[in-house]
């Protein structure tokens, strides 16, 4: 696993721990010797970290209230329909 393309192709497997010990070692050796791939790997890894911090908090409370009212109405209407059957 000596060329950059092969290294970059398996970065996801590496981060997921889906690689055997020999391949891991070969990848880590390449990163040590190749500053371009090392920089690439660092920024690739940061993507998940940044995405994780995007987590848009919660459903807006107003929407949550409206959602609850809407579904309660629907549930009651469908319940009545079932009852009449």
């Amino acid at each position: 696993m000596s060329n950059c393309k092969k290294i970059i192709d398996v970065l996801c497997d590496y981060l997921e721990g889906h690689m055997g010990p020999d391949d891991r070692k070969a990848l880590e050796n390449h990163l040590e010797d190749c500053p371009s791939c090392d920089a690439f790997f660092e920024s690739y890894q940061k993507i998940s970290f940044m995405c994780r911090n995007l987590r848009p908090d919660r459903i807006p409370p107003e929407l949550s209230r409206r959602l609850m009212d809407f579904l309660r109405e629907k549930a009651e209407a469908e319940g009545r329909k079932d009852h009449l059957r």
């Binding site: 060329n3 950059c4 092969k6 996801c12 889906h18 920024s43 994780r52 995007l54 919660r58």
Partner: protein, 209 residues
Amino acid sequence: MVRDLQDKQDLLSRLKDKDWEAFKELIENYQDTVYRIAFGMTNDPMDAQDITQEVFLTIYRKIEDFEGRSSLSTWIYRIAVNTSIDLIRKRSTRKEEVSLEEYLPQFSEDERLSSPMVDWSRLPLKVLMNEESMEVIKESIRALSPDIRIAVVLKDIEGLSLREVAEILNLTVPAVKSRIHRGRLILRGWLADYFERLRPRLKDRKGSQ
């Protein structure tokens, strides 16, 4: 653990009986994630609102069909994904597809990395995580194609495991991995482009201190 399982089964049987209180509990537990999936997929608060409503209505109507072959959360997220995809497909004719190939890494003939390497990962956290950078990453996620975007949303934003994402999207784990990998490569390139353009500004700021 046993108690937890019992509670879940109890909730499920109350849901199947169309017990409103049980349904309310379900909405309270899942509304944030369903909304986040819908918002992540459409990036539009109004669409996310419509999808969230539609998802819970579908759950209410179809809960009898839930056979427990997957977990309840996987079943719910799958409905959220499918409802979002349906809406995106209805609209996709209006949106122009942006070519993202330029953001993928470039290699020389002997397969060495040849694109210039902007090492933005070592920038201080306050620059990486400031409002503008976060807006750029959101914009780049919006530009991904829906099939790649949803894999990135579920794995990297929601933090689900590869196996869960595969189950929700009805794909194999390697297929999910390949979508996530492609998505991360594009996002990485997009951000490299942004930080490269930002560099003179960062230097100025440093110089003026």
